[in-house]
Structure formats: structure tokens, C-alpha cells
Amino acid sequence: MTPASKDLLRIAIFACGVALLLQVLNSGVALNFVMMALYAALLAQAWNILGGFGGQFSFGHALFFGTGAYVQAIAQLQWGWSPWLALPMGVAVSAAVGGWVGALSFRYGLKGSYFALVTLAFAEVFRIMATTVPFTGAGVGLMVPLREGFANMQFGSRRGYAMLALGLVVLALLVTCWLRHSRFGAWLQAVRDNEDAARAIGVNPFRVKLGAIALSGGFMGAAGAFYVQVFQYIDPGIAYGAHTSVEALVGAIVGGMGTLWGPIMGALALHVLADLTRNLFGQLPGINMVIYGTVLIMMVMFAPRGLAGVGQSVRQLWKGRP
């Protein structure tokens, strides 16, 4: 069995397992938990494509999230599109915004903290623009009317939304699997590890990073569109605020950057933690961000390879190999 087909088998098992779980679960709380965990996983997976595999740490992934969300809302409200058409459109526009930001930053060789700052700045610019221009509903935001039904991508229970999130997560898993077993992925990881060495053996870092940011932006846009379908409301703060950017990067870093399952493990762990603290502290506003910050610092200090890295070490100990 090749490593690629091993990954594909695991993805299939994961998809079937979660789908089955969603059919069995009946409590609204439990369904909501799974849905939100899948949604957080999607954010982390999207960030992982650029940050984990490409080594380009974005601090403004909300830029793509918000763009996908607004396209999803505007296409339905102002152009009368079906949400099933709006979603791929949102993905395409977010990917294009990714390509545009990427072209601007990578063209001038921005790396590390400079790249992080530029993405943060772009997200802020978009947030301010969204509060001023009329077609985003300005500061009031946009509300998608409640019209339950499959054709409107609005489901009676959280189960439908969770299935939709599962579909997107599995798609992201497949793309990540492709990154692990393809030439593009090999080039992307080479650029992450050492850009000059990669150039010396024929890799064009600009093109590779551009592809990665477009892919990453596309999935982030899908998460934004999903958000609009679930909560039926979007405003500039939700769309382009730093909260989403942080959630995406913490999930990926805690789970394990550049791995297949890390972002899912990270998102799940964070959600369990956030729910536990909510029960302990009640609805203390912003407490989850405090938790995320603490967890991030602990992980970076003691387990820089994330949960997936810890899992790998344990597995090797089990096998008796150093």
C-alpha cells in the first residue's frame, strides 16, 4: 500500500465515522459541538496549507474568511443566487484575493513577521472598508432571511450543517493529502524549509507560494460562506476581525503544522477546552481567547510539533524505536 492510499483510506474511515456519529447523535448540544469543532477544523486546515506546508505565517486569514462570507451573503441577497452557487463563487473570490495579496507580498520577498504584519494590515483595511461601503451593509451588516430548506442550504437541525461542514473538512483533507504526495506539495515544503536551496534546484518560490495562498484562501472563504449559512448574519467585525485569524492559526499550531490530522486534532482539543472553561467560568467574554493564548504558548514551548508531533513520539516509543 502506498503512503498516499494509506492516507486516503484513513480519510475515508474518518468521513464515514463522523457521518455515522452525526446520524446517531440526537442532542442538539452534541450536534452543535460537532458542527463547531468541524468548522474550527476547517479554519485550521485552511491556515495549515499556507502556514504549515508553506511556512508563510499569516496573521490575517480573516481576510479570506470575511470575503467568502460577504460573497455568500451578497450573492443571495443582491443577486438572488442559490447558496449552492454562491459558495463556490465565494471560494473563487477568496482564492483570488489570496492570489492578489500573495502576489503583492511575495513579489517583494516579504517573509516571517513582515508577511504576518502585511496580512494583518490587509484584513484591517478590508474590515474598515466593509464598515464604510454600502453593498456590505456597512456597520449594520447583512442578514440572510430564514428560509429553511435544502435548496436554500438552510437545515432544520444542526445535523445538516454539520454534514455540510464535514464535506468541506473532507475536501480540505483530500487537498492536504495531495500536498503530501505531489510535486506541488514537495516544492511547497522545500520552499518552507529553505527557499534558496529550493531555487538552486529549479523551484520557483513565487509561483509555489502563490498557489498555496490561493488554496488556503479558498478554504478560508468556504468557512466564511459556511458561517453565513449557519448564523445568517455577517458584519465587518465578525468577517474581518482578528478572532477568526487567531482561531485558524492556533488550531493549526496546537494540532501540528504541516501534518494531515494536526489541524483537526488541534481544533477538537481547543473546542473541548473552550467548552470546559465555559462551564467553569460561565460566559466570561473573551475567556476562550485567554485560553487559546495560554495553550499556544505552552505548545510552542513544550511541544513545538503540536499534538500530531506528540502522538508520533508516543507511537515511536510504543514501537520501541528512538
Binding site: H181, A186, Q189, D196, R199
Partner: protein, 248 residues
């Protein structure tokens, strides 16, 4: 016969420092040649100018009859010129096999075949036993071999080796020399920067000597070692005369 690489009057300054001044040289196709010179002579800068990591202020670089002056390194690699780095640069998070496969991917889009090609290249440089090790775990000697393997995997016509023997112990150098010889024998033109004179004498058919950014001598290794200008560049002004007096 067109030379594999031809430099015409290439210069490059960094502020007031003239790192490379008016260097012209011609590397015959299929040859194994060396570029030597004291520390700070501009050897690595010259390599960077050849491979496209730096742009020259003036002069031209011609690869196998095609002007590649100022062309990006990734395009040069595609055209058949690959280089190694003096300070080894492995993709540390990946295995040796994956590292080499990145080079093989230049002409092989399929992952499985690139990984297979990596195995064949690893055998050429003696890395077969280490294929599944993370590159970050290799010794210096192992990393030098990996550096070589990665460039070889791109199927170059011209290989620029920047001190592949530096930092190795005598035994490791002894093991590496046949590897370099084998690469040249397979028809790849090799130009090496080297400090280890034992290797230069052993391997190179022709040697260029760079000092303070200028070519001061060239010839066979035997000619170079008796050249007064070269002795002075390495040991200081007036040394040649003193040595002559001492010998007399």
C-alpha cells in the same frame, strides 16, 4: 566546441567593495575544473553571479551558448546548471529520500517516480542506507552528500560545487573524492570551489585562482602551485622572494 560556461568581464561591487572585478573564464564541456583562492577572494560571490543568485554589475554569463546573464536561479537550474552551498542547506524536516526527490521533480512531475529516482541518485553518492532518515539528523559529511545528491537529481549538465569537502575529516575527504570523480566521469561538467588542495591536485584538470576579486593565475594544478603570484596571494607579499632566498 562551445564551452559549457563562459564568463566575459563579470564584475560586482557591494558599496565600495569590489568583490569581483572583470573576471573572464571559460569552462570546457565535460571538464572537471576548480576555482581556488584565499578567504574573501570572491569565489562564492562569483558562484552566485554564475547561478543567478546575484546580479552582476557588468559582463555576461553564457551557458552552453545561451546568454543567461541575470537569469533567476530556478531558470538556470532548468537550463541545466545546479549548485550546492558552502553552508549546507538541507530541507531539515524531510527525509533524505524526500530531499533528493525535490531535485528529481524538476523533470519528473510524478511523485512515485521522483522518489524512485531519488533512490538511484542516493546510490551514486553513497546515501542508500540513510534514505529514510530526517535530513536534520545527518552528520556534516552526510549533509554534504545530500547537497550533492539533490543537485544531481535535477540531471544537470553543469554542476557548481561550493566547498563540498569543507568541514570533513581526512577519511571523509578520501571517501568523497571518488564520488566527485564519478560525477565528472558520467559526463557532467563540474566546476568546484575548494580549499582542500589535496582534492584539487587529485581531481582538477584546470585551476583558476581568484584573489581580491580578480583572476591572478590559471593552469594545471602543478603550474599553479609553483606560480609566484599565487604563492604571494596566499602567504603574503614578498613571500615568493623570501622562499627563493631561503632555498638558495
Amino acid at each position: 566546441m562551445t564551452p559549457m560556461l563562459q564568463l566575459q568581464d563579470v564584475s560586482r561591487s557591494f558599496g565600495g567593495l569590489k568583490a569581483v572585478q572583470g573576471v573572464s573564464l571559460s569552462v570546457p564541456a565535460g571538464s572537471l575544473t576548480a576555482l581556488i583562492g584565499p578567504n574573501g577572494a570572491g569565489k562564492t560571490t562569483l558562484f552566485a553571479l554564475m547561478s543567478g543568485f546575484l546580479k552582476s554589475d557588468s559582463g555576461t554569463v553564457v551557458l552552453d551558448g545561451r546568454d543567461i546573464t541575470g537569469q533567476a536561479p530556478e531558470l538556470n537550474a532548468r537550463a541545466g546548471m545546479a549548485r550546492t552551498f558552502q553552508i549546507v542547506q538541507p530541507f531539515a524536516a524531510q527525509t533524505v529520500r524526500e530531499n533528493i526527490a525535490v531535485g528529481a521533480h524538476l523533470h519528473e512531475p510524478r511523485r512515485a517516480l521522483a522518489l524512485l529516482a531519488a533512490e538511484a541518485v542516493a546510490a551514486r553518492v553513497g546515501l542508500t542506507g540513510l534514505l529514510d532518515k530526517p535530513a536534520g539528523d545527518l552528520t556534516v559529511a552526510g549533509r554534504k552528500r545530500l547537497e550533492l545528491a539533490r543537485t544531481l537529481a535535477t540531471q544537470p549538465r553543469l554542476l557548481l560545487l561550493d566547498e563540498v569537502l569543507a568541514g570533513l575529516n581526512p577519511q571523509e575527504i578520501g571517501e568523497m573524492i571518488p564520488v566527485v570523480r564519478g560525477i565528472a566521469d558520467s559526463g557532467i561538467t563540474v566546476l568546484m570551489i575548494e580549499h582542500v588542495m589535496q582534492a584539487v591536485m587529485n581531481l582538477a584538470a584546470h585551476v583558476w585562482v581568484l584573489a581580491q576579486g580578480q583572476l591572478i593565475a590559471q593552469g594545471t594544478p602543478a603550474e599553479i602551485t609553483t606560480n609566484e603570484a599565487v604563492v604571494e596571494a596566499y602567504l603574503g607579499h614578498g613571500t615568493a622572494a623570501r622562499l627563493r632566498k631561503a632555498a638558495a
